[in-house]
């Protein structure tokens, strides 16, 4: 059973919706959030999104559901302001597009124009200030670049000044050297004042040269330090766009990057232990670059647009289930994309209706209301021509049957008077299917069984009195006692006994009517034999018939009785004569035959 239809109420997912299938991840704290700081990676083959090595079923995730429902309840973003915003963004995208091919470079003016456009776009509330952030990043990077250029120019001027000073110093040094030669020739009178003055000037120039070189070094250090900071600042903004699913901004920023930083180094500097770094390397296996960001954002945009196209196609074919799944994907991946934000209201309503049914079916499953589930499934089938209800139907049918089986076991236990077993099975049936209509029937049946107690008591009295005839006559009324297995046995015994007696009496009546001489004898003899059984002899109808045949077969009966009487008095000769006489009336008499055999044996074995 898929987790989305887990009626037990237990989800195979953790609270965050992250499946914890990886044994190595047991006990690991799930990521705190899903959207905003990380990129959802969609696997369209099974509608799952990957995050941090775990997978989300986007159709069965509380966060996705919540955002999707929010999306469905919103009106399409078709205001004039939004149109202007999207037009601006689209224009910037197109503008940057032409510089992605070839060696065309965007000049500072163009970059300023892009920045201005972004600042304008950021005034739209739906943008959330993201365009402004990008514009600021671009401006900051440009400022750094300008500052570096100024420092480069300053260093160039310093170079020129240093060169001049060196040249000047060299000249003075040469003069000092020439003066030294002359002074050797005119040692006494010439004096030393000119030589002293050159020496001080040379020292001053040397000092100035050192100062300027120090300035140059400071400028170079400042340039080298500011550039990486500017890059990190810019790259962090781009990664942020990607993670927040602001793909348009990410694409614009990535395309502008190489025109802002022209050193050719597009590697993104991320901490190797960060989730973002793992995400990038997890996709390509390569260190992240600006091009990777561009590719990922572009692919996501295409994916979302294709999903929305698929939604429209599915809706046109009344395949609401497929449309819903595709729309969930589109919303989860690219909530801020234009195609998603402007998704038509009437289509949202159609999908919202279907989505609500799907939610209701899940609620009904969790509540184990299987009738409701089937009802919803039928409704969904009406709405969605491609809806496959076999999973739901077979699941509910199985559960219903399981509940009924438990209920049947409960009934059996009740009938057998096993209260504990009855409670166990009845509870089981109620847990499996709380709204099982047979549960109500079971309660009614218990109440009905309780109401049968007077009949049961009456039945017991009649049975103890062996008044089976009354039980038989009122068998419909006493049928209820069959709910008690012991009484049922007695009931059936009573009914079968009387039915057997009546059938036999009817047969004997027929025999007696066919032969009015021997028929009554045969009937009497048959009833006489059965009369020994108390169950028969206590039945009034049996007795009435017995006495009737006794009267009709009077001669035969009297002969037998006389014979028995004589036998009891050891008048064996008379007894045998009596048995013979009885046999004359009814030659097939078993009683007479038996009497004859027994008495004859006594007579012939005696001594005389």
């Amino acid at each position: 059973m898929p987790s989305s239809f887990d009626a037990s109420g237990r989800s195979t997912q953790t609270q965050s919706g992250v499946e914890n299938n990886d044994p190595n991840r047991v006990g690991e704290t799930p990521p705190p959030q899903m959207f905003g700081m990380e990129l959802p990676l969609l696997d369209p083959s099974n509608d799952t999104m990957s995050y941090g090595g775990a997978k989300f079923d986007i159709g069965n995730n509380a966060v996705v559901r919540e955002r999707f429902e929010k999306f469905l309840s919103q009106t399409p973003d078709n205001t004039e302001q939004s149109r202007v915003y999207r037009k601006n963004i689209e224009a910037i995208l197109k503008y940057t597009q032409k510089y992605t091919k070839g060696a065309n470079r965007i000049g500072s003016k163009a970059l300023v124009s892009i920045g201005m456009g972004l600042y304008e776009a950021s005034s739209y509330p739906g943008d959330g200030g993201q365009a402004g952030a990008l514009a600021s990043a671009i401006v900051s990077a440009l400022d750094v670049q300008r500052a570096n250029r100024r420092r480069d120019e300053a260093n160039a001027e310093l170079d020129q000044e240093i060169d001049k000073l060196i040249k000047k110093t060299n000249t003075l040094t040469n003069r000092n050297t020439q003066k030294g030669v002359r002074s050797d020739k005119h040692a006494a009178g010439a004096g030393t004042s000119g030589g002293v003055s050159h020496t001080f000037q040379i020292a001053a120039n040397t000092s100035k040269i050192a100062e300027k070189k120090t300035k140059q070094g400071a400028n170079e250090a400042a340039s080298q330090a500011s550039l990486p900071i500017a890059k990190v600042n810019y790259q962090s903004v781009l990664v942020g766009f990607l993670l927040q699913r602001r793909y348009d901004h990410a694409v614009i920023g990535a395309r502008v990057y190489r025109h802002v930083f022209r050193d050719g180094n597009t590697r993104v500097d991320l901490d190797k232990n960060s989730d973002a770094y793992k995400m990038f390397t997890g996709i390509s296996g390569m260190p992240p670059t600006i091009t990777t960001i561009d590719t990922m954002a572009s692919n996501a945009r295409r994916e979302v647009d294709q999903s929305i196209d698929a939604v429209h196609g599915a809706l046109a074919q009344n395949k609401l289930g497929e449309a819903t799944n595709r729309l969930i994907t589109a919303v989860a991946v690219g909530e801020y994309m234009q195609s998603v934000a402007t998704f038509p209201a009437k289509d949202r309503l159609r999908i919202a209706d279907y989505w609500n049914l799907r939610k209701q079916s899940l609620s009904a499953l969790n509540a184990r209301d299987y009738d409701k589930v089937e009802e919803i499934a039928q409704e969904m089938k009406k709405m969605d021509v491609a809806f496959d209800d076999s999973l739901l139907m077979s699941y509910t049918a199985g559960k219903k049957r399981q509940s009924d089986f438990a209920l049947r076991a409960a009934r059996k236990a009740l009938a057998e008077g096993k209260d504990e077993e009855f409670k166990k099975h009845a509870t089981e049936a109620a847990i499996i299917w709380p709204r099982n209509p047979n549960l109500q029937k079971g309660e009614e049946e218990i109440a009905r069984l309780d109401s049968f107690e007077p009949q049961k008591a009456e039945f017991r009295v009649l049975y103890d009195r062996k008044d089976f005839r009354t039980i038989y006559k009122e068998r419909e009324r006493f049928k209820v006692v069959a709910t008690d297995p012991q009484l049922e046995k007695k009931y059936m015994e009573s009914i079968e006994l009387i039915a057997r007696i009546d059938a036999m009496l009817a047969e004997l009546k027929s025999v007696a009517l066919q032969d009015r001489t021997m028929g009554p004898c045969a009937a009497y003899e048959k009833l006489y034999e059965m009369k020994a059984d108390e169950r028969y002899s206590t039945d009034m109808k049996f007795l009435d018939e017995f006495h009737r045949y006794e009267s009709e077969a009077n001669n035969f009966v009297m002969a037998l009785r006389d014979a028995e009487d004589c036998r009891s008095r050891r008048e064996y000769g008379s007894a045998l004569a009596g048995y013979y006489r009885a046999r004359c009336f009814y030659p097939h008499s078993k009683l007479a035959k038996k009497g004859i055999e027994e008495v004859t044996k006594v007579i012939v074995e005696a001594t005389y």
Binding site: C566, E571, G573, S574, L576, A577, Y580, C584, E605
Partner: protein
């Protein structure tokens, strides 16, 4: 006068008593004759036989030891050891069968066969069973003649 009348009344009373006593004696004698009519005759002479009476109380026939001549058709024969039990139907009463015992120790000159009519000379006896109980009113065949 009074004494003579008293004496007269006493004589009259005595004679009446004598007459009454005589009548009683006569009644008793008649009753006895009627009751013991079969045995009133000679024990060796055959007597008429009442089956209905026999069925009620056969031993009464045995107590006198009378002999009876019966004509009957043999309906069945059952042998037990050497003794045979023969049931015969009387000519004038087809709803009766009379059981006759032919003892082994009293062989008959003729063969008793089923379906034939014979004249039986019988006497009513009381036998003893193996456990010593009486077996009353059994008609034992003395002699059989073919008719």
């Amino acid at each position: 006068m009074a004494r003579s009348s008293r004496r007269g009344r006493g004589k009259k009373k005595n004679s009446t008593q004598l007459i009454m006593g005589g009548l009683c004696l006569l009644v008793v004698l008649l009753a006895g004759m009627l009751f013991f009519k079969p045995s009133a005759r000679s024990g060796t002479e055959p007597q008429p036989f009442n089956i209905a009476q026999y069925r009620q109380d056969g031993s009464r026939f045995a107590s006198t030891g009378n002999r009876y001549i019966l004509e009957g058709k043999v309906e069945s024969i059952e042998s037990h050891g050497g003794n045979r039990m023969v049931s015969v139907s009387m000519r004038n009463n087809r709803n009766e069968r009379l059981p006759l015992l032919v003892l082994e120790m009293n062989p008959q000159p003729i063969n008793i066969t089923r379906g034939d009519t014979f004249i039986f000379d019988v006497s009513c006896r009381t036998g003893r069973s193996a456990d010593g109980n009486e077996v009353k009113g059994i008609l034992v065949v003395n002699e059989v003649k073919a008719k």
